[in-house]
Symmetry: C2
Subunit: 515 residues, 2 copies
């Protein structure tokens, strides 16, 4: 009787909103959230088009489950990430632009090791080489509250599956369990798998394992389960628990595919060989179809368990498609045409990514051209989860909620926002196009590119020239000045880092200091 | 209003027992449960005595936190495990005696590899070399419902930390996540750590990692965090979540210590060197004090968070202490005196383990001589959790609940139960004492040992002769007959396995077929 009385008085006082604990009470309001975060997938490397037309690249690939998802989602045709993976991942989890969080290059699997290549002219700044940290005072990290922590604190059952790569081993950010996830399967400090093959224990062969050996999947060792499939099976198993508990869940499903090493997924590769693709491209296409099946399997599981309607599904890539031979076939930097260049570049091929967001209980295909960027997912997800007040150690977040766009409310303010990229780093040995020591800003249709080594500003009109083939800086000096001022202003506000000249030790000029 | 009505009618029908979900409702009744399952710790290898007096071995070690725990716990002075680790671990999780579940030796890190050594005379049976499985039809496994799954299904937040070793890689039992645990940190298919040192990444060194490299602790790689400490920190971090959620938790904290390789814990080793212990024994004692600190830290955390009173704490070892040189110092099989032999043996040194159980809200030091065994923890834990009806795929369980003993109710029925061991295996190259191809049964004070190779039955009275020095089989033929019949009956009931003679292919006789 005492218990019943307690509950009744609780009903009276709180209107039953918090009856039975926060997780229980919020469940009715809070949607599940699933993010499919694919690695190194180019903007067109799926059969669902994000350009104004279906492109020859789209036609190489077969992703029926993404096509189906697109029919019930908002398609963002001008969505961006950063040129390489860790900066994008940290931006998503912190809500901060990479120029702001200063994890501007990929993080080494072990602590305190910059990943920049040597350069004759410039020295990269003291960037956050260890990634992000949920604890203060960890050297070379950005200290920030990851949004999964906020979800967890608000009753979500938070799950990470797959590639993590948020921080180096030897620091807290190496473990997703320190970043707000209750469950982590296969996520650690490395950025790609040693092997996609269960027969090779995903790399965990005694005496042969590298930092990239995939953890946690012992069940599949020695078996013919492709890594993408193993992660999918684990995701489905894990999801059963919050469903049984009637708790809202957040699943960050970050497939290792389609990052190199491009190892053919035997379930799908023959079809692409039969279509005439060479072995490298057929292998790549098989990785793509593998993660598409993965998405399809998760969606089917959600439907079978009555969860699909109440689940937000977000699909995106963490950077543009790799555009270098021999990892990909064909001449360098042609793999994403008409987009220029690929992974590592501030040109569109390196940063433009597919983004779909299916809202809960809101199934209508929409499309928006508004420019959006990966850090926007932080406030978007929290708004969709109905969480309004939350403590943050980062003073502000740079991302903007996309909920109004998902709801179909178009307004012109999106065209006046500016999106910023800053790469004061030497990602690979070979410079360019747009790779190593570049920054950029987009506002509306215009994009300014700052080539730090050559001290050059380029301007492109993306609406007319998505391929960034015509530098119109000379014809639009006012726009160059305006955007270089805006970019400089952002840099100063964020204390963004610039490389220094080896010869003088001086920083390269801010973009508005040119000419 | 609809919500309130629903809840009110729910209250009426179910008496509010299931209001707000099982986890919420049962939380008020259900205690937390923490098991400290230490690896390879001998019966006397702590400063808290389990013999009738403090022994010289007890005096070697310093475990103040276990001494404190003993003041509030029931001490089982006649508690048993099996001679090696996997059988004990499977018995605990399944409630089955090892002769019944047929995981009679340790499981290889990878599937389908028997771990028996070659023998000239006998061939081990087709035992369950892949360990336990939560799924049916996995070759060479025992298919059983692990009790953590039952706890999880009843609203517990279930956590495994440390050594798992329930099944081989390539089978579901390799992952604690398949055995009812929501969270797994550092548990996999291997039975010992490659390294205890963070500086050595616990073994995860590129090109050097073996199957024993400890997973999941990247945060501590390259740092001076000893493995025992890293696991403790992880346990404390993980426990915060169920406490915040107000969910009852089950923590299976299975330290890798004190299994070989005996690597000194730098925090404690100097003290033992100063006491005059040689480096091996000082290293061993430092591992012991390390896990004792680990227990102390967890207990302190529970107290600081108001959880201690409502937490059942169980402490035990998975087999007797290793008694072989050079892994331990001194002549072979002297390390557990007065107990005979050590790990691997059916003599007391191999199977007798310390066991403490502190009940929730019941803090009184008690002691019981009733013979108990590791599979008793299965029904004990479920009874303490207040879970009465649960589906099981194993038809029966062999363990008996210890709750009446914890509650101080002594009765003689415990003396009439029989405890059984069956080792139709060749654990190490060198046979004996009590190692390789032995079985045994204890009832009351008497223990019958069956030496399969020598076709010999030995009888000991443990009350008079805990060291099993005087074989009294010839003097007590009736007792030998009685116990050999009982052991045979158990073997037949469980379809227990016996080795076969290489020469004839015939099974060794049942114990009651001798003479």
């Amino acid at each position: 009787m005492k218990r019943i009385n307690l509950i009744l008085s609780c009903c009276t006082v709180l209107g039953c909103l918090f009856l039975g604990g926060s997780a229980q009470a919020q469940q009715a309001k809070q949607p599940n959230i699933v993010v499919f975060f694919v690695d190194d997938l180019g903007w067109q490397d799926i059969s669902e088009p994000f350009y104004k037309e279906v492109t020859p690249i789209n036609r190489k690939f077969h992703t029926p489950h993404l096509e189906a998802l697109a029919k019930e989602a908002t398609k963002f045709t001008n969505a961006y990430a950063t040129p390489v993976c860790t900066p994008s991942r940290v931006s998503m989890l912190t809500g901060l632009n990479a120029a702001h969080h200063k994890v501007t290059n990929w993080t080494h699997p072990t602590a305190n090791k910059p990943t920049d290549n040597p350069d004759d002219m410039l020295t990269p700044p003291d960037w956050n080489i260890n990634g992000m940290s949920p604890d203060p005072n960890v050297p070379h990290t950005v200290y920030a509250t990851p949004f999964p922590q906020i979800l967890k604190d608000n009753g979500y059952y938070t799950i990470h599956i797959g590639k993590a790569h948020w921080g180096s081993a030897g620091t807290p950010g190496a473990s997703p369990l320190n970043l707000g996830f209750m469950v982590n399967i296969a996520g650690h400090s490395a950025g790609h798998p040693q092997s996609y093959y269960g027969e090779e224990n995903y790399g965990n062969m005694p005496g042969k394992a590298s930092h990239q050996a995939v953890p946690d999947l012992m069940e599949y060792h020695g078996r013919d389960t492709f890594l993408t499939e193993a992660l999918t099976l684990e995701a489905i198993k894990t999801l059963k628990e919050p469903i049984k508990r009637k708790e809202p869940f957040f699943l960050n499903f970050s497939n290792y595919a389609v990052h190199v090493p491009i190892m053919p997924d035997p379930r799908f590769v023959q079809k692409y060989l039969d279509k005439g693709l060479d072995p490298v491209e057929a292998g790549y296409a098989s990785l793509v179809e593998g993660f598409d099946k993965s998405i399809g399997d998760i969606v089917q599981f959600l439907k079978d368990n009555g969860q699909y309607e109440n689940t937000v599904i977000i699909f995106l890539s963490d950077n543009g498609g790799l555009s270098r031979n021999p990892q990909r076939s064909g001449p360098d930097h042609t793999q994403n045409l008409p987009l220029r260049a690929g992974k590592g570049s501030v040109y569109e091929g390196g940063i433009r990514v597919p983004l779909l967001i299916k809202n809960a209980n809101n199934h209508m295909a929409r499309s928006t051209e508004s420019p959006v960027i990966v850090e926007d997912l932080f406030p978007t997800i929290l708004e969709l989860a109905g969480i309004q007040d939350y403590p943050l150690v980062q003073k502000t977040i740079d991302g903007q909620s996309l909920v109004s766009l998902i709801d179909g409310k178009q307004d012109n303010s999106w065209n006046s926002r500016n999106l910023v990229w800053n790469i004061p780093n030497k990602w690979i040995v070979q410079d360019g196009p747009g790779i190593n020591f570049f920054s950029a800003i987009r506002q509306g249709d215009y994009k300014l590119v700052y080539d730090m080594k050559n001290q050059k500003l380029e301007l492109y009109n993306l609406r007319d020239d998505i391929g960034e083939t015509k530098d119109i800086a000379k014809q639009h000096k006012k726009k160059v000045k305006e955007l270089s001022n805006l970019l400089t202003e952002r840099f100063k506000a964020w204390d963004a880092q610039l490389p220094t000249y080896k010869a003088t030790g001086k920083k390269v000029p801010y973009p508005n200091e040119l000419n």
